[in-house]
């Protein structure tokens, strides 16, 4: 690995904080009991699990019984959407957006194969969803609306409260994929109309492979997996104890850091954006203000995103791209396409996502290297020369 690493891919995953690892360690070879066991080693672990559930609930303004631990954001989304669909038996109508993560979008596509109807709402140039359009899309068969709290690529924040209220007024369930938001911005579920919220620990300096689904008290869905009676049968299987402990601790730390961290990241974000826009022919993707504190997404015209990533990588800068070549999917990001961005510009997109540990020097380093990389690549590019 590079001697100096400037990690700006916190939207993909984050390092686990030292305090979090420390909280997990006792649960590997010391307190290893199965929380379902009646004996002392089991009971002790059950208690630690209950405490982690309380910590998690508290950090979200929820009740412990409303927290279901899962293996991550993907599973939380699948359980909420498919679980609600399974309860419908037969069919019904789902409203979602065209810029959801694949763990919502592709679930909806799969449900279409099973006979459900789905409306994929368009977004504006900034990636924003208009609540009025949600309202218009509602019909008598609509049973769930799923709109992400913030987009993972372009960072755009959605008017979740308004949409959740709309859903509530129409007696429709509301799910939000808040994987990018939890730990970054305050969440208070009890004062909201959200019925389901998905989160994933590795996005807020917790461990990979553990997440949670908030499901409001009184809401009922059908579980997908069957097995033991863990997580009140919504998600059976021996609990990932160290993961759950780590999630609770990481969330507690992340949420208490928000007031301070949010400001710091926003300021770093804005100077990185400003610096990148100094380069010729660079456009900002997403909304200039309503965006995640740590999200920067720009398109470098005339060059391709993966090659920029590679150039950055050579300098020890870790970022990501919505280009086709970086996803292996041949298609440029569905998110950038949905914002109406020209394919050729979408291919040149690069996301820098800031987090815990990034500092002004990191931003300066990127701003020193990026122009050189861009220049070098443009120099090779035929489209640049014939522009």
């Amino acid at each position: 690995m590079q001697s100096r690493l400037v990690y700006m891919d916190h939207g993909a995953t984050t390092p686990v904080r030292k305090e979090v690892v420390d909280s997990m360690l006792p649960f590997f070879h010391d307190q290893y009991g199965n929380p379902s066991s009646l004996h002392a080693p089991g009971r002790k672990v059950r208690q630690a699990l209950d405490e982690a559930r309380e910590t998690t609930a508290r950090a979200l303004g929820a009740d412990p019984e409303e927290i279901y631990f899962t293996s991550g954001g993907t599973e939380s989304n699948n359980i909420a959407l498919r679980g609600a669909a399974k309860k419908q038996k037969g069919g019904g109508h789902i409203i979602t957006s065209s810029i959801e993560h694949h763990a919502v979008l592709d679930v909806c596509r799969d449900l279409e194969n099973e006979g459900f109807k789905v409306t994929y709402l368009p977004v504006d140039h900034y990636g924003c969803i208009e609540p009025e359009m949600v309202k218009e899309a509602i019909n008598k068969d609509t049973f769930i609306i799923s709109i992400m709290a913030a987009n993972n690529e372009i960072g755009t924040l959605q008017p979740i409260s308004e949409i959740a209220l709309l859903a509530r007024e129409h007696g429709i369930l509301f799910h939000t994929d808040a994987v990018q938001v939890v730990g970054q911005l305050p969440v208070d579920l009890h004062s909201s109309n959200i019925d389901f919220l998905s989160l994933s620990a590795h996005k807020f300096n917790g461990p990979k492979g553990i997440g949670a689904l908030f499901m409001r008290k009184g809401v009922e869905i059908n579980s997908l997996y069957r097995g033991g009676s863990q997580e009140r049968k919504l998600r059976p299987g021996t609990e990932n104890v160290p993961g759950i402990i780590g999630l609770g601790r990481a969330l507690e730390l992340a949420v208490s850091d928000i007031p301070h961290k949010k400001k710091r990241l926003e300021s770093l974000r804005d100077s990185l954006i400003a610096g990148l826009l100094q380069i010729d022919d660079v456009v900002l993707n997403g909304h200039p203000r309503q965006r995640l504190p740590g999200n920067i997404n720009v398109s470098f015209k005339y060059i391709e995103g993966e090659s920029v990533l590679l150039g950055l990588d050579m300098e020890g800068i870790a970022a990501s791209s919505g280009s086709a070549c970086s996803s292996g999917s041949l298609e440029p990001s569905h998110v950038l396409s949905a914002t109406g961005l020209d394919h050729s510009i979408a291919h040149g997109s690069v996301r820098f996502s800031l987090g815990w540990g990034n500092c002004k020097e990191d931003v300066d380093f990127v701003l020193q290297k990026a122009p050189l990389i861009v220049e070098r690549l443009r120099n090779i590019s035929p489209t640049y020369h014939s522009r």
């Binding site: 090659s307 050579m314 489209t383 020369h385």
Partner: protein, 124 residues
């Protein structure tokens, strides 16, 4: 992901640019992933005397373009026509499976350039 040779060609691409007095120009693009390549050749005595490229694309596309120019310099046109995209990838020491399609530009652009040359010089 990419091996050292690919990285080297990406970092130090050989024969970049336009040949203002090119005898043949070949262009090709992948509609799907957006990559585009432009290849310039100078021909003397039925041999590729000089070659240069411009590429819009990912690391694999750029490295393949650069590799190709090294492979064809000095080659007879008929020999050059035999080079396949796979040859280029092989010469680079292999590319990640998902990236193979990105290397599919280089040989195509070469063949187009040679055809362009032949058309202009009534060899077709």
């Amino acid at each position: 992901m990419y091996n050292e040779k690919v990285i080297d060609h990406f970092n130090h691409p050989r024969n970049v640019g336009e040949l203002s007095d090119a005898d043949g120009i070949g262009e090709t693009g992948s509609f799907k992933c957006g990559d585009t390549m432009k290849l310039y050749i100078k021909v003397k005595d039925d041999r590729i005397e000089d070659v240069s490229f411009q590429t819009y694309g990912c690391g694999a596309a750029i490295a393949s373009s650069s590799m190709l120019t090294e492979m064809v310099k000095g080659k007879k046109l008929d020999e050059a026509m035999q080079i396949t995209n796979q040859d280029v990838a092989d010469q680079l020491g292999g590319l990640p499976p998902l990236k193979l399609h990105c290397s599919n530009l280089a040989a195509d652009a070469l063949h187009n350039a040679i055809e362009d040359y032949r058309r202009k010089h009534d060899q077709v």
